[in-house]
């Protein structure tokens, strides 16, 4: 049973921001509640005011800019992203990841913006969106700023959002030509133990670019830049050794913590395994045969 709270339903981002400013720590944004309400039910947190952002016009939609950038309103549900024809065609890895978040009932109600803002370490979207170089737009009355998604995550359940700020949009630029992304995860509970996202751009038998992000393993999802550097400019023919090295570096840099989802050592091992498999999957989707 939930403890009583007041519901506020602002008509605009500015009004929501003003409510947050007025009520401070007593207020929390509500964007579906699939994570927030669980914490409230368990008595871990309590708020006197929930500020419902789902009814703010314009926060729920998805659109694609002329340059191909996908703009996802923060209150778009996982299910809306998963089923959007543009996402399916042009951001296939994103559609696939979304189709595999939690279960269908969570995806029907839970929102992408809510997921990112809750910053639960064992979540899927944070890692994959980082290999797309996604950015987030944070707004409050009279000011908006755009940050790389990576900067949003400060710690477990902690973001860089200021008290009166709202995440309003996630922008996902298209990958360059001859690129593909993949996200693989492993877990034995409802949430992933380890999630590894990669994006690869291929040119003339080389990795023209390689991006790696790891989620769920440590406190926050992070890009693994050392691992990326090892792969960049490598010939595909050398990829088995390079992927092994990249996996080792990513495992070390992932800041693995032992928790309910597995020991740090176990998660590090899985990072290397999933990194290799994710690159193979991405390369295969580009029709590139990787030497075994």
């Amino acid at each position: 049973m939930l403890r009583p709270f007041e519901l506020a339903e602002p008509a605009s981002v500015g009004e929501a921001s003003a409510l947050l400013a007025r009520h401070g720590e007593a207020a929390r944004l509500y964007a579906g509640g699939t994570e927030l309400l669980l914490a409230m039910k368990e008595g871990l947190v309590h708020y006197d005011y929930l500020v419902n952002v789902k009814t703010i016009p314009g926060l729920g939609g998805l659109r694609r800019d002329g340059d191909g950038t996908l703009r996802i309103g923060a209150a778009a549900t996982h299910r809306a992203v998963e089923r959007d024809p543009v996402v399916r065609e042009h951001f296939t890895a994103l559609a696939r990841m979304e189709a595999d978040v939690a279960n269908v009932r969570v995806r029907t109600v839970g929102t992408l913006g809510g997921n990112l803002c809750f910053a639960e370490p064992h979540a899927d979207p944070g890692a994959l969106l980082q290999v797309f170089d996604a950015t987030v737009r944070l707004e409050r009355a009279g000011r908006a700023r755009t940050l790389p998604l990576e900067a949003l995550f400060v710690g477990p359940f902690e973001t860089c959002l200021e008290g009166d700020e709202l995440l309003t949009e996630i922008a996902v630029p298209p990958l360059p030509p001859r690129s593909a992304a993949a996200y693989l995860k492993f877990g034995f509970l409802e949430r992933p133990s380890v999630g590894v996202a990669v994006a690869v751009t291929v040119a003339d038998g080389h990795f023209a670019d390689a991006r790696v992000a790891v989620g769920s393993v440590g406190p926050v999802p992070r890009r693994m830049r050392e691992a990326e550097a090892v792969l960049r400019e490598k010939a595909i023919a050398e990829s088995p050794a390079a992927l092994e090295e990249a996996g080792r570096l990513a495992a070390r840099a992932a800041d693995a913590v032992t928790d309910l989802h597995g020991s740090a050592e176990y998660k590090e091992h899985l990072v290397a395994v999933l990194l290799r498999r994710a690159f193979r999957q991405a390369l295969a989707s580009l029709g590139v045969r990787e030497p075994s």
Partner: protein, 165 residues
């Protein structure tokens, strides 16, 4: 704002309710409307026993606030049978023995109805993916899977006995 006015259609019947914002849809259905078919089990949306359809999409009634049903259509297990005629999914569950204690069954059936509306001819893997998160702790999943596939055949376009979901 304290209580919220919620006009909602439940199993075809319109209700005008006033609910406190912290009331869950599960509490509303069971305690306010007396619809006891929707079960409270884990209460943290991992088991699926409370699955109902909100505008024909499956949701966990235990973790959805009742006010979210404003202006929308709800279907619960009570809304499936027509008089004494069970819904084809219910029939398939009975015929395949896809239940033991029956506690998870309303949620399983509602999820199946949603699945087959979205994908009338799912593969076994598609069934397993969609039904992930609907947990049964006594009968195992083999008979449930068989029942869902049988219901799919029965409801598929062109099937002689189907009457549509």
């Amino acid at each position: 704002m304290s209580d919220v006015a919620v006009a909602v259609t439940v199993n075809g019947e319109r209700h005008e309710l006033t609910v406190p914002p912290w009331e869950t849809l599960l509490e509303c259905l069971r305690d306010r409307l007396g619809l006891l078919g929707t079960k409270k089990s884990c209460d943290v949306q991992v088991c699926g026993a409370c699955t109902v359809l909100l505008d024909e999409e499956p949701v966990s009634a235990c973790t959805l606030l009742a006010f979210e049903a404003r202006g929308r259509r709800l279907r619960t297990i009570e809304g499936l049978a027509e008089g004494d005629d069970l819904h084809p999914v219910q029939e398939a569950f009975v015929e395949h023995g896809a239940l033991q204690c029956g506690f998870c069954t309303p949620g399983m059936i509602m999820a199946t109805v949603a699945l087959l509306q979205e994908n009338p001819t799912p593969t076994p893997d598609e069934v397993k993916h969609y039904m992930r998160g609907n947990i049964c702790r006594c009968t195992g999943y083999k008979s449930i899977l068989e029942a869902i596939l049988a219901a799919s055949r029965r409801l598929a376009p062109g099937a002689e006995t189907g009457r549509g979901a």
